[in-house]
């Protein structure tokens, strides 16, 4: 019963994440890639994303604090961040990145700073959500259950 409840809340939680646009179908694709030979694939990729993103966000903050802002560099960083976020399906982070890049192209420092804040916020949000999701997953696995993402996804 507990397992069922856990699974239900997991499903609801993910559905809410999709509904609110935090995640997109790419995230479910990731789950499809996870199998017996690669049981920790999603967690691995997502933690890779966290590391990468934190580094990039730090780099971005530093780059924006410079007296002479190197927009090319910022653009490269945001491009990276956008790539990784779209790879794991973090839709809102990706969208923020898109607008960030537009301002970056326009060389608008003020808006860029605003965007950075937004990206940061989105990143923290998705991080929290995903961590909570993985927590749930862990509990389910610990309770002897399994996650069938494909089933609930499509």
């Amino acid at each position: 019963m507990e397992l069922n409840q856990l699974q239900r809340s997991f499903l609801e939680y993910t559905a809410a994440l999709f509904r609110e646009g935090f995640l997109d179908s790419q995230f479910s694709q990731l789950y499809q890639l996870q199998d017996e030979s690669n049981p920790e694939f999603v967690v691995e990729v997502v933690s890779l994303f966290f590391e990468d993103s934190e580094r990039l966000i730090n780099d971005l903050s530093r780059a924006l604090d410079q007296t002479i802002v190197d927009f090319r560099k910022i653009d490269a960083h945001v491009h990276q961040l956008k790539g990784s976020s779209s790879s794991i399906g973090a839709q809102r982070v990706k969208n923020s990145c898109v607008s960030f890049r537009n301002f970056c192209e326009a060389q608008n420092i003020e808006e860029c700073s605003k965007c950075l804040q937004q990206v940061k916020q989105e990143y923290l949000l998705i991080k929290n959500k995903l961590e909570a999701l993985f927590q749930l997953e862990k509990q389910i696995v610990a309770a002897g259950g399994a996650i069938n993402m494909v089933e609930w996804m499509l």
Partner: protein, 1287 residues
């Protein structure tokens, strides 16, 4: 003649103007143009009329004036000569009568003396008399000729004024002639003749001048018209050229050009206006000049007229005076001869008086003559005694009249040295007898001068004695001896014996003279004595108001010391120069009118240009709006699609949850509707894309038959539900694989079949057939069976069925491609093929009135069908555009309640042979086990049987056809007896031919054959299949239970369904069944393949790795281009490489370029044998497939996605990066990897980045069975595969 010429010229004028008018009209087709044209024609007419009137008035005026002149002069001349003649005649008579008794010698001498004055007149008289008679005849003849001449030249004489006038003149002359005396008549004739010839000349001259004038005017008008016409035409041309240029140039430059043309047109407009002003000014100046010129001419002519008249008068006066003087002279000689030369004197006062009285007519101007004797003082006494009276002194102050004067009033002359008392006098002046002429001052001077010079001498004018008239006295000296001509004055004075004086009454003389002349009213004549220049004495005429300059003619009265002159002037002031005024005003008016016309024209041109510019601007705006509309549609449909996909996804998820039947039904309905909406949006997007010209066709090899099968399978359910037969037939001559855009090709056919299904209800068929376009041009027997049948539709059998697929009547399909232009043309390039696709149905047909707008977007046959059948009416429009993009044409033929046939042609490229193998592998999964089998098809309809044969042939099964069960029975029984190499494996019976009564024996026969055959043959049992269009499941079960048939195949026939059914029936390929599943296929493809993933993003790298590993690939990941190049330096172990394009350091483009150059180097070495065998291993040629990945270039929007291939293409052109298509080729071509995936550009594009995630499979309906690239396949195919309708 003149009017003739005028008419013809005006006709010509009209004609030409009419022509111009037409040309003009064609130039200006606007409504205003006609009004404009009318004005122009009217103006030309006015101009022509003005010219005509001017010419006529000028010539007529000149003519009549000249005529008056000549008539005057001739009249005058004749009168003068007449007088001459008369005078000399009368003189003879007078002399005769006077000197009857006198001496002959003396008279002869006198005759001799006076002879000098006669011969000219005498001879002339004689000559004239002689010539007169013949001249008369001549004149008459000439008159006749002249009269005949003129009308012949001028047919419509009434309009011409000059000639009738002259005719009248001659008539009056002739009548005058009749009444005049003979002698004068002769003169008249001559004068008249002269005048006539003169007139004739004038007339001809006038004729010529008028016609010349008219011709000139006409020419000018024509020239003007031609010039204006040309100018306009040129302008038109110029502007139209300009317009063309503007239209041709791309829109980007248009605004610039427009501005240029605006400025240029503005400058030309200014230029035109300047010209116009110059023209008008020139016209005005010309008109003033013309006025001045004509006025001067008139004044000059007036002066000349005056001069000639004055000169003539002066000459006449002079002549008459001279004649009188000669008479006086003669009288003096007479006196000298008969008074002084005779002793005693032959003349006394009485004789003198008589003689002078009788010859007074000879001296009409003299008031009287008198003879004064020279008496010296010494002789005075003697003289006075002899005469009986004393010499009296002249009293100048006495002013009493001659009649009243009394000799007694004169006082006796005082003592003088000499006296000149008058002894003889004419009766009129008898009062002066005995008066001493020397006593008057004037007379004395006169006498003194006369005797010194021996010539006649005149006094200055003075008041004549006893008369109030001014007069002059002529004095001749009478000598007693005959003096030589060169006698000196001394001799003359001494020889003087007396003085003959004659007084002339000048005013009456002149008045009499002038009275004789015509036109005396027009001029005023004054005669002056100008011996004293400063104080001329007026001898005749009154001082009237000055009317312009007088003409002065000198008069010579034979006295060199006295000078006289005649002054003539016109009585009236000159009339205003009407001719000049008319002409110049005419020119002015014409100029102004032309100016007005051109001004209006210029204004109009400017207006039209302005209008044109506005139109262009509006056009640009409209075009921009159109583009904006298309863009808006594209954007909006994309924006709609994104949330719709969300809706669909959620509905799908909802349907997967635990729902009761009702809820599930709702959800399914919503899902289906959503899908419909998506497809509609896709259509709109397509339309917008086509309209904005952004649709790009792909060129990839594909299996045409497979595409048709897919289309058929889309509609199979619908056709089954409606009980329609749906069939596809592809001619053998159509190659298996062609290069083109399969998706769009499929879309066209889907549209057409969808339409057909929509409009065909419950009966008949829909038949799709594909042939080479050239096939229909072949002779009848060379065509394949289906084509032969369908082009020759006949009724067969008694039950009113046709030789069509379902037996229903169809329209003549030939007519659907009748209008194709490029149909019969064999494609220039041999590798191109032209296909003719025909979709035939037995539906409702299209009403004739709606047929014309069937291809217009959003137009439907009618609104009621729209309600009845639904749909947007966009499909056919898209199809038409697509067909045009594919280099083909589309057409249709339709009849109400019979059906429609749509035909279209498309051009594809022939695929190379090696594609065939790769493509074949798709079918290989199912096909090989049926090769070499034989089947019997029993179908009463030939076309349907051919369709079945076509499908079986694709599976490698050879087919025999019989039309009925009976013939099949005999066929099978024969077959069983003969041993044929091919094994009869199956019998396919159509539902229509199926009958229970015949099927039982047939079945038994088959079973028997099977039993016999199974021993010898391959052991494949003979199977019977029923081909059914629609069959209920209960029927199907029944049939199966009866074991009459092995299985039922529901139409439409598809290769996959056939293969599946056969496999099921025969038990073949059951093991291979799973291999057909897609993931397994991918797995087999990727299993144990060495794949290099190059990406700088760790997350991406990890995801790609995971994805590839999932299908069994061995993945190596590297971070940058440099490492990748190092790893991919041949020889290496990798089968493929996935390359991110945007990387720091070395990007994907550069890395690919380097890898390719390394490979080509290595390949060269291998070719030249330098490289070792083991280095190349078993590869003959190094070419690692490289798949570009990018998440960056493609943004989430579809619009930018569209740009992507062109960017890549640009890169390929500039930097040697392989084309996207090249990448596809890499995948399908390379042997080591054998990724024979049908990777289309669109999918490839989608596969490259996150676009699939965001836009969720734009083309999911068309995703082909196994065509996803491995990358898109493993990562994203979950969505499309689930809704994939075929497999």
């Amino acid at each position: 003649m003149s009017s003739n010429c005028k008419q013809s010229s005006s006709n010509g004028n009209l004609c030409s103007s009419l022509k111009q008018k037409k040309a003009w009209e064609s130039l200006h087709r606007t409504a205003d143009g006609r009004k404009w044209k009318r004005v122009v024609v009217f103006l030309w007419l006015v101009v022509a009329l003005c010219g005509l009137v001017c010419a006529l008035t000028s010539s007529n005026g000149g003519n009549s004036e000249r005529k008056v002149e000549t008539s005057v002069s001739s009249e005058f001349k004749t009168q003068v000569s007449l007088e001459y003649c008369n005078v000399s005649k009368e003189e003879f008579h007078a002399l005769d009568s006077l000197f009857i008794e006198s001496d002959r010698v003396a008279s002869l001498a006198c005759c001799r003396e006076s002879g000098y004055e006669m011969p000219s007149s005498c001879t002339s008289t004689c000559r004239l008399k002689m010539k007169g008679s013949e001249k008369w005849h001549k004149l008459v003849a000439e008159n006749v000729e002249f009269n005949a001449h003129c009308p012949s030249r001028d047919e419509s004489i009434s309009t011409y004024v000059g000639l009738p006038l002259s005719k009248n003149k001659t008539m009056s002359f002739i009548s005058q002639l009749a009444f005049s005396s003979i002698s004068s008549g002769h003169l008249w004739y001559k004068e008249n003749e002269l005048q006539m010839t003169e007139l004739h000349n004038h007339a001809t001259y006038n004729c010529e001048s008028i016609s010349f004038c008219l011709a000139k005017i006409c020419l000018w008008i024509l020239a003007g018209m031609v010039a204006s016409f040309n100018i306009l035409k040129l302008h038109e041309k110029f502007s139209s050229q300009k317009h063309e240029i503007i239209q041709e140039t791309p829109r980007a430059q248009q605004s610039q050009l427009l501005q240029q043309s605006q400025s240029s047109s503005r400058s030309t407009g200014k230029w035109r206006k300047k010209i116009l002003v110059v023209f008008v000014l020139a016209g005005v100046v010309f008109s003033f000049w013309l006025f001045w010129y004509l006025d001067k001419d008139i004044i000059l002519r007036r002066k000349e007229t005056l001069g000639s008249m004055c000169d003539e008068r002066a000459r006449m006066l002079q002549d008459q005076f001279n004649v009188s003087m000669n008479h006086v002279h003669a009288l003096a000689l007479l006196v000298s001869t008969f008074h002084h030369g005779k002793q005693p004197s032959a003349i006394d006062q009485k004789t003198f008086e008589d003689y002078t009285e009788r010859t007074a007519f000879e001296r009409p101007l003299t008031s009287g003559v008198a003879y004064a004797l020279r008496v010296r003082h010494s002789e005075r006494k003697e003289f006075e005694q002899q005469q009986g009276w004393a010499i009296k002194k002249m009293e100048t102050e006495d002013q009493t009249l001659a009649q009243d004067c009394n000799l007694e009033n004169f006082s006796t002359s005082p003592v003088q040295e000499e006296y000149a008392p008058v002894i003889f006098s004419q009766k009129t002046v008898s009062h002066i007898v005995s008066i001493d002429m020397m006593s008057g001052k004037e007379d004395r001077e006169n006498i003194l001068r006369a005797r010194a010079s021996g010539k006649g001498v005149l006094t200055s004018p003075f008041k004549l004695l006893k008369s109030n008239h001014l007069g002059v006295v002529l004095t001749f000296a009478v000598y007693n001896t005959h003096l030589p001509l060169d006698a000196i004055p001394e001799q003359r004075i001494n020889a003087t014996v007396g003085y003959l004086g004659a007084s002339y009454d000048v005013p009456s003389l002149v008045a009499k003279l002038l009275h004789q002349l015509a036109s005396k009213q027009t001029i005023v004549v004054n005669v002056y004595d100008t011996t004293n220049k400063l104080a001329p004495i007026n001898m005749y005429g009154t001082d009237e108001a000055d009317t312009g300059l007088p003409h002065i003619s000198n008069l010579d009265f034979g006295d060199p010391t006295r000078k006289h002159e005649m002054q003539c002037r016109f009585k009236q002031k000159p009339p205003p120069p009407w001719q000049a005024i008319t002409a110049s005003v005419g020119v002015l008016v014409i100029t102004l009118l032309l100016g007005h016309i051109f001004h209006a024209a210029i204004n109009r041109i400017a207006k039209v240009e302005r209008g044109y510019r506005e139109m262009m601007e509006l056009k640009h705006r409209a075009e921009a709006a159109d583009v904006a509309k298309s863009q808006f549609l594209a954007t909006v449909s994309h924006e709609i699609r994104t949330p719709m996909n969300g809706v669909l996804g959620m509905l799908q998820m909802l349907m997967d949850t635990n729902l009761d039947a009702m809820q599930l039904d709702y959800a399914q309905t919503a899902h289906a509707n959503g899908k419909d909406l998506i497809s509609l949006i896709n259509k709109v997007l397509d339309q917008a894309k086509i309209e904005s010209g952004r649709l790009e066709l792909e060129a990839v090899p594909f299996d045409l038959r497979a595409v048709l099968d897919k289309v058929l399978s889309l509609f199979s359910r619908e056709s089954q539900e409606q009980g329609l037969e749906l069939a596809v037939y592809v001619s053998d001559q159509v190659p298996e694989v062609v290069i083109g855009d399969q998706e769009r090709f499929g879309q066209i056919i889907t549209n057409l079949v969808g339409n057909s299904i929509k409009f065909t209800q419950d009966k008949g068929h829909i038949f799709v057939s594909v042939h080479l376009a050239n096939e229909v041009m072949l002779p009848l027997d060379a065509r394949d069976e289906v084509l032969r049948q369908s082009l020759n539709i006949v009724q067969v059998g008694s039950n009113a069925s046709y030789n069509t697929l379902s037996g229903f009547r169809v329209v003549d399909r030939w007519r659907s491609w009748e209008n194709f232009k490029k149909f019969s043309g064999i494609p220039e390039e041999t590798e191109k093929i032209k296909l003719l696709v025909t979709v035939e149905d037995t539906g409702a047909g299209i009403p004739p009135e709606a047929q014309c707008r069937i291809f217009t977007p959003f137009m439907q046959a009618d609104s009621s069908t729209s309600r009845k059948y639904g749909g947007t009416g966009i499909g056919l429009s898209i199809s038409k555009r697509l067909v045009e993009l594919m280099g083909g044409e589309i057409g249709f033929v339709s009849e109400l309640n019979i059906g429609s046939t749509f035909s279209f042609t498309v051009t594809f490229t022939k695929a190379e042979a090696n594609y065939l193998d790769t493509m074949q592998q798709q079918c290989d999964l199912a096909v090989p086990e049926f090769r070499g089998l034989k089947a019997l098809v029993i179908d009463e309809r030939r076309v349907r049987a051919e369709v079945t044969r076509y499908h079986l042939k694709r599976l490698g099964i050879s087919v025999d056809i019989t039309s009925s069960m009976e013939s099949a029975y005999s066929y099978v029984s024969c077959y069983g007896k003969t041993s044929v190499s091919e094994h009869l494996a199956m019998v396919l019976v159509d539902q229509d031919s199926w009958g229970k009564d015949i099927c039982f024996p047939f079945h038994n026969l088959l079973k028997m054959i099977e039993r016999n055959g199974s021993k010898s043959n391959s052991g494949i049992p003979l199977k019977i299949f029923l081909l059914a269009t629609c069959i209920s499941s209960t029927q199907r079960k029944e049939l199966k239970l009866d074991r009459l048939v092995d299985n039922v195949i529901t139409k439409p026939l598809r290769i996959s369904a056939l293969a599946f059914t056969f496999q099921e029936a025969t038990g073949f390929g059951k093991m291979g069944h799973n291999t057909r599943a897609k993931p397994s296929t991918l797995r087999t493809l990727l299993k144990d393949k060495q794949i290099l993933v190059v990406d700088d993003n760790a997350v991406n790298r990890r995801v790609a790795e995971g994805a590839l590993k999932k299908y069994g690939a061995v993945v190596t990941c590297v971070e940058g281009g440099k490492v990748a190049v190092g790893l991919l330096k041949p020889p290496h172990k990798f089968d493929a490489c996935f390359m991110d394009l945007q990387m720091p350091g070395m990007d994907g483009f550069e890395a690919t370029r380097q890898i390719r150059s390394l490979e080509s180097e290595c390949n060269k070495k291998i070719d030249s044998g330098e490289a070792s065998v083991d280095m190349s291993e078993n590869f003959a040629h190094w070419h690692t497939p490289i798949l570009a990945m990018t998440a960056d270039v493609i943004q989430a929007t579809n619009e930018e996605c569209m740009k992507w291939p062109s960017q890549l293409r640009h890169l390929a052109a500039t930097s040697d990066f392989p084309l996207a298509t090249q990448l596809c080729h890499d995948l399908s071509e390379s042997n080591p990897c054998s990724f024979h995936v049908e990777l289309r550009l669109g999918d490839f594009r989608s596969a490259m980045g996150d676009i699939m995630i965001n836009s969720t499979a734009i083309k999911q309906e068309y995703l082909p069975t196994s065509c996803l690239s491995l990358f898109s396949g493993h990562m994203y195919c979950a969505v499309p595969l689930r809704s994939e309708p075929y497999t």
